[in-house]
């Protein structure tokens, strides 16, 4: 491999490396967002279940 070939290959590899680094960093960010969405979904589901159970607990009191 000549010096020119090494430099040209390096230039193309630099572009590939930076794009791959960007994709890796962004995939971490997407994974974090996915976790946050799941956490929020759990919180919302917990919030929806609680009033139902509270209503069920209160019902016998209303009957009596």
């Amino acid at each position: 491999m000549t010096t020119a070939e090494k430099y040209v290959t390096a230039a193309f590899l630099v572009v590939l490396a930076v794009v791959l680094l960007y994709v890796v960093i962004y995939s971490f960010k997407i994974a974090r967002l996915q976790r946050e969405v799941e956490e929020l979904a759990d919180q919302v589901a917990g919030g929806l279940e609680r009033p139902e159970t509270e209503a069920a607990d209160r019902e016998p009191e209303r009957v009596s």
Binding site: A4, V8, V15, V18, Y26, K29, L33, Q43
Partner: protein, 228 residues
């Protein structure tokens, strides 16, 4: 529009196909340049990357102009995303240009070259955009300041592009003149292929990053409203 309906994956596949074809043709089909020999092949990545960087900054400025015109904060994220990607392509332009300079001129960088210095100024100007953006609290004021800054930055692009053509005594090659591209049909074809691939890559990354940023913003707003 849901994430599934976005053209991101199609653009990413197109970018990959176009860039792989361009690289294969650049290495195995295009003949060696009479003056620079094999090292001229950096042209197929360096120039399209630089032009894509300009395209990103122009797109960011266009979105900034629309924000100022329509007072719609949705354009703020679009402008910011385009400028962010433009800065990444700017890093690549400087890196590939530096490698080319080392083979052709024997130096990694030449301060006497106006085009290199002007591109560096443009790049640093957009780096300062992020410093400005994150020094101001989120809100309409930050959006307006970022938009005005992005519009000022785009003025530097024609300066960077034309200065070298108006100046005398440069060694940086100029292939795009008023008489058209100064290259053979083969070289021009591979150059166009590579640039199309990089524009598709920009569009794919722009769609993905924008979707992520919008989701991030929506989540923060949702958390705030849940906390109240």
């Amino acid at each position: 529009m849901s994430l599934r309906n976005r053209p991101g994956p199609a653009l990413a596949v197109s970018a990959l196909a176009l860039l792989m074809t361009a690289v294969a043709l650049a290495f195995y089909w295009v003949p060696n340049d009479a003056n620079q020999g094999f090292s001229q092949r950096i042209f197929y990545i360096h120039v399209p990357v630089a032009l894509t960087s300009y395209a990103c900054f122009i797109w960011g400025a266009w979105k900034a102009l629309r924000l100022l015109w329509r007072h719609d904060s949705a354009y703020d994220l679009e402008s910011y995303t385009a400028i962010h990607l433009g800065t990444i392509f700017g890093i690549l332009t400087l890196a590939t240009g530096s490698i080319w300079a080392k083979i052709s001129w024997g130096h990694w960088w030449l301060w006497s070259e106006r085009q290199l210095v002007l591109f560096l100024i443009l790049f640093l100007f957009y780096c300062a955009y992020f410093m400005l953006r994150y020094s101001v609290d989120e809100g309409p004021r930050r959006e307006r300041m970022s938009a005005v800054y992005a519009l000022f930055g785009v003025v530097l692009i024609p300066v960077s592009f034309l200065a070298i053509r108006l100046a005398q005594g440069f060694i940086h090659p100029t292939v795009f003149t008023l008489d058209g591209p100064q290259m053979t049909g083969q070289i021009f074809f591979v150059f166009c292929l590579s640039w199309a691939g990089l524009l598709c890559l920009f569009a794919a990354l722009y769609q993905t990053e924008l979707a992520g940023k919008r989701l991030d913003r929506s989540l923060r707003e949702l958390r705030r409203s849940m906390a109240v």
